[in-house]
């Protein structure tokens, strides 16, 4: 495990700060332009969900290393209302934006690994990783 840094999400502009921090880390890790843009978009979606549905939370970044490659891990956590039906939320076309491909299924597509834990009334924790190719 490597260094850890995070951005607290409280107001809309914090989403931009999270994007910036994520992009810088991705760039330093050696991700190409396309992957940088994908990682940043994923961070944006997660931070925006925190802002919209939990009000407050944190987006943390970790540099992870396996035997063959390096990657960036994004952890989005909040103590908000939680998500009741995870399968439904992960279904294509469910988002309130009307299934324009974004939302949580979009995050899953943009990244390599994706995991979500949520408890109603307690909060949500989303862990997602992308590896340098």
């Amino acid at each position: 495990m490597g260094s850890q840094s995070y951005v607290t999400i409280m107001k809309e502009w914090d989403i931009v700060a999270a994007r910036q921090m994520g992009r810088d880390i991705a760039k330093n890790l050696g991700f190409g332009t396309v992957d940088q843009a994908r990682i940043t978009t994923a961070i944006s979606e997660l931070a925006r969900n925190i802002h919209l549905y939990a009000g407050e939370g944190k987006v943390c970044f970790e540099i992870v290393e396996s035997l063959e490659h390096k990657g960036i891990r994004v952890l989005a956590t909040d103590n908000g209302p939680g998500i009741r039906d995870l399968s439904q939320v992960m279904e294509d076309g469910f988002t309130t934006s009307g299934g324009l491909g974004a939302g949580l299924p979009g995050v899953k597509r943009l990244m390599d690994d994706f995991d979500i834990e949520s408890e109603v009334g307690k909060g949500t924790k989303i862990t997602t990783t992308k590896w340098v190719r």
């Binding site: 190409g32 332009t33 396309v34 843009a37 994908r38 940043t40 978009t41 294509d92 076309g93 299934g99 324009l100 491909g101 974004a102 299924p105 979009g106 597509r109 943009l110």
Partner: protein
């Protein structure tokens, strides 16, 4: 080299050529490569990136100016890439569903098919065509030991796959009755109980049930709220509606039905149908029930199967070959 690298190479070459000549040939090449991108699932942001790389190769000095603007474009393409991926996946899912339904429809057809009995008395013709893949209409013929012929025609109010599934249940319920020993109203009464108990309350089934007894030349029948059929009297050369009262199946558990009878003479006809026949649409108007009779009259000199086929073809054409509802038509012609 995989196709991605190959496309990247030819993209750069084409772009180089186009900037020099600005001719249509290079643009035709761009069209071809665009198709190749789609085929190989290359997302828009990757294409923008390809363009940036190609530009950098062609104009190593220009990139200071161009690159940030191109990066901006790349960022703006990300959501299109996601939407495209979602679309691809939904399309695959839809194809899967379609072939599953197709298979189910074939199974239903095999399960529900009923052979037309061959008799000396009656010439029988039947056609049943679903509007979509699965049929919500049902008909069957059963010959009794005494030579009687039982005919059921039914329509389920409710559409699509759930309706079609209910029809299979009706078939198996009826298979368990000693049909040829029961009166037509007793059959509807038993069936009503099955439907009331087993079918979703939002679904109703209408049925017309008839038994022809060759000894007396009489047709006995009962109806559970089904679209009335017609009787053609050869002597009077007139069509008459076959009246029969009865509640739709599945509404109340203890419904009872009445049995009616009709004497058939040589060249008389009995016409049974579902509302998919009488509610054919011409543009945005329903046809009149009389129009069905006019068409039948045109073809009634033909064998029964020929008549139903021709009537179907007539209404299929009127509706621009797109049925709005399942279409079932049965014609019995007394030949002796």
């Amino acid at each position: 080299m995989d196709t991605k690298d190959l496309d990247a190479r030819s993209y750069t070459d084409l772009l180089k050529g186009y900037i020099k000549t600005q001719d249509e040939r290079a643009l035709y090449g761009a069209e071809q490569i665009s198709k190749s991108f789609i085929k190989n699932n290359i997302l828009p942001e990757e294409i923008v990136n390809l363009h940036i790389q190609a530009l950098l190769e062609i104009y190593p000095d220009l990139h200071e100016l161009i690159q940030p603007s191109m990066n901006f474009l790349l960022e703006a393409m990300i959501s299109y890439g996601l939407a495209h991926q979602e679309y691809q996946q939904l399309r695959e899912k839809q194809l899967e569903l379609r072939s599953e339904i197709h298979l189910a429809a074939r199974m239903q057809q095999i399960l529900l098919q009923s052979e037309i009995p061959q008799t000396d008395d009656l010439d029988i013709g039947v056609i049943s065509v679903p509007a979509n893949q699965m049929n919500g209409d049902y008909h069957h013929f059963v010959r009794g030991k005494d030579g009687s012929i039982n005919i059921a025609i039914a329509d389920i109010i409710g559409k699509g796959i759930p309706a079609a599934l209910s029809m299979s249940m009706i078939k198996y319920a009826m298979d368990s009755f000693p049909e040829s020993e029961m009166s037509t109203n007793a059959i509807l009464k038993s069936l009503n109980r099955v439907v009331e108990r087993n079918v979703d309350p939002s679904m109703f089934i209408t049925m017309f049930y008839a038994t022809y007894k060759p000894d007396s030349g009489k047709l006995f029948y009962s109806s559970a709220g089904h679209e009335p059929g017609f009787f053609y009297s050869s002597k009077a050369n007139r069509f008459k509606e076959i009246e029969a009262k009865g509640l739709v199946l599945g509404v109340k558990p203890d419904t009872t039905y009445s049995q009616y009878e009709l004497e058939l003479n040589k060249d008389d006809m009995v016409i049974l149908l579902t509302d998919g026949v009488t509610e054919c649409r011409k543009g945005d108007q329903f046809i009149e029930r009389d129009e069905v009779l006019e068409v039948i009259r045109t073809y009634m000199h033909l064998p029964a199967q020929e008549i139903v086929n021709r009537v179907y073809r007539h209404f299929e054409r009127i509706q621009n070959f797109q049925l709005k509802d399942d279409f079932t038509l049965v014609i019995l012609k007394k030949v002796v």
